[in-house]
């Protein structure tokens, strides 16, 4: 196709719409944290990630942030926008006001600026948690003869938004958190070689599923419909009723 830059950039600068971004800043050994404010030009589809990258390239190259896929599939660009957990790559500037505050995710150590250390997030997961699952979509698709079933990547993109939003994790730092528990529930749903007893033992550890206060903030924050809160409740049912659950249903 033709070079798009020509048509796009030929605008009167004074007419370009802008937004103000207040961005959290922290450099190790540099005398503490603060906010910097930037005026950023925006278009009809500008995302918070676009705006942050514009700041990097036009105002302050020292601004550090995480991003990779730019379409809500890798889970790298999680931040808090006006106090809510968002993937910056699909967070539309126009869904927010004239002055937008961007901060790193909560409940994880900050490395610099908007960059959090994901080590403790991944350390919370069950040791084995496959990321390929049965697809099941579209419902009427018949897989080719040489395939047992169609498969796809798990819904959970390990972005950490649920952990950041979790009120329990804010006070109980060792709590394994919603993403890890949801992953355990997926293993009960589709074991893929993992032992059911191991999963239940892991989930019922002292820092496991009984810590959850059912605030449901995790499911609200989840960008990919992985429904962590519902999965935590399903795990609890499993541990409470176990294999006898169905029998009890029948007796009612």
């Amino acid at each position: 196709m033709s070079d798009p830059s020509t048509a796009d950039n030929r605008q009167d600068v004074s007419k370009i719409e802008t937004r103000s971004l207040r961005v959290y800043r922290y450099k190790r050994g540099d005398g503490g944290e603060h906010f910097d404010e930037f005026e950023v030009p925006v278009g009809p589809h500008t995302t918070v990630l676009d705006a942050l990258r514009w700041i990097q390239h036009h105002r302050d190259p020292s601004l550090a942030l995480r991003h990779s896929c730019h379409h809500a599939s890798c889970g790298t660009c999680g931040v808090q926008v006006d106090g809510s957990e968002e993937l910056a790559c699909v967070c539309q500037i126009h869904d927010h006001g004239d002055r937008i505050t961007v901060e790193p995710l909560a409940n994880l150590p900050i490395i610099t600026d908007l960059v959090v250390d994901m080590t403790s997030f991944f350390a919370r997961f069950p040791h084995e948690h496959p990321i390929i699952r049965a697809s099941g979509l579209p419902a009427n698709a018949e897989p080719p003869e040489d395939l047992e079933q169609y498969v796809r990547l798990e819904d959970c993109i390990e972005c950490g938004l649920c952990l950041s939003a979790c009120p329990t994790a804010a006070t109980a730092h060792e709590y394994v958190g919603p993403a890890a528990l949801a992953s355990a529930q997926r293993l009960l749903e589709e074991p893929r070689g993992v032992q059911r007893e191991d999963v239940l033992a892991w989930a019922s550890q002292p820092e496991g599923l009984w810590r959850c206060h059912v605030g449901l903030e995790c499911t609200r924050a989840c960008p990919t419909d992985a429904i962590p809160a519902e999965r935590i409740m399903a795990l609890r049912r499993e541990l409470t009723f176990g294999g006898h659950h169905e029998t009890k249903e029948h007796q009612r």
């Binding site: 196709m1 033709s2 070079d3 798009p4 830059s5 048509a7 796009d8 950039n9 450099k27 190790r28 050994g29 540099d30 009809p44 589809h45 995302t47 390239h57 020292s62 550090a64 942030l65 995480r66 991003h67 990779s68 896929c69 730019h70 379409h71 809500a72 599939s73 890798c74 790298t76 790559c89 699909v90 490395i111 610099t112 600026d113 960059v115 080590t119 997030f121 991944f122 350390a123 997961f125 496959p130 990321i131 390929i132 697809s135 979509l137 579209p138 009427n140 698709a141 018949e142 897989p143 080719p144 395939l147 169609y150 498969v151 796809r152 990547l153 819904d155 993109i157 990919t224 419909d225």
Partner: protein
Amino acid sequence: MIEPGRYDAHVLIVGGGATGGGVAHDLALRGVRVTLVERGELTSGTSGRHHGLLHSGGRYAVGDRESAVECIRESTILKRIAPGSFEENGGLFVAVCDEDMEYLEPFLDACADAGIPAQRLTPEHALREEPNLNPEVKAAVRVPDATVDPMRLILRFFATAQRNGAQIRPFMEVKDLCVHDGRVCGALLHDHATGQEGEISADLVVNAAGPWSDKIAAMAGVSVPMTPSPGVLLALRGRLCNMVINRMHKSGDGDIVVPQRGLSVVGTTSWVVDDPDELTVPEDHVERMYAEGSKLIPAARSAPRRAAWSAARPLVGAKGSGSGRELSRTFQTFDHQQTDGVEGFVTITGGKSTTLRGMAELCADLACRKLGIDEPCRTRDTVLLPHTAYYTAVA
């Protein structure tokens, strides 16, 4: 297995994408000391942003045989060394008009020639397997395409490299290369976590900066024939298919739909730019993705937009190219001692994520030759650690 850091030689790799990750892993397995620096997060340039296609090579079979052969060879190896990373559902090339049908025989011949397994399906058969396909489908050919989560595959290379002693340093930007007496001997680094700067010495610097590789080369006073060629991609909500759906015709705009998790990604367009940091997402390109994508899968027309973005391919070829479509997707190494008389500096560019291991082997072979190290490549048979090990298995 060779012990990590068996050789004293220190290689500095610039660029934390697929290419750099592959080279770090390959050299670490050969016992070489490696430090990799990346100005931002790993895979934050082109590598994380491609449409998630693990190429069978079908896309290039007619017209770019070299890339097609590389793709079928390397995708087969990747499935073996990175099990559990791919949606291995295959891909379909579908003809939806008479003009596409003229491409059918050349396509089947070219796949056979490149060694790509290709199975012709009747339209009815194709529609049973992919019910959302355009019901006007006239012919379909199944090839071993797959979907990959780009970041998580590449993290497996980083995780394994790290386990074998490689130092992986994201948020560490190269501000300049240290050149003395015609030899690159290190780099000036800016640490974005602290704001501090410092020098690092190296016996060899590998420029793996993808579409930024010419900027890095300029720091050594040389240039590489590489053209940054962006394309627009469109992610739709909803999983409309399980196989990768390709249009059976010459590569063009919006002729592929790649399912990924609960999304369907339509790609792509192609143009050329000077600065890979200044990528636009022109709305007419997004419209084009909707229009062309819905010729393959009509439901794409009404699927809600999840995201639209651009990524810049680093294509090997002289600047001044028209759209980038005519440039090969193959890869190339440059020993700048041979091309420019600058010692201690090599560039690896071109290629694609599917061929990252092969690119790395070529580059690590060159690096070892230059360093006088005689160790074979071991990446074909080394199963990679899971992506999470990059975070949890820190030495």
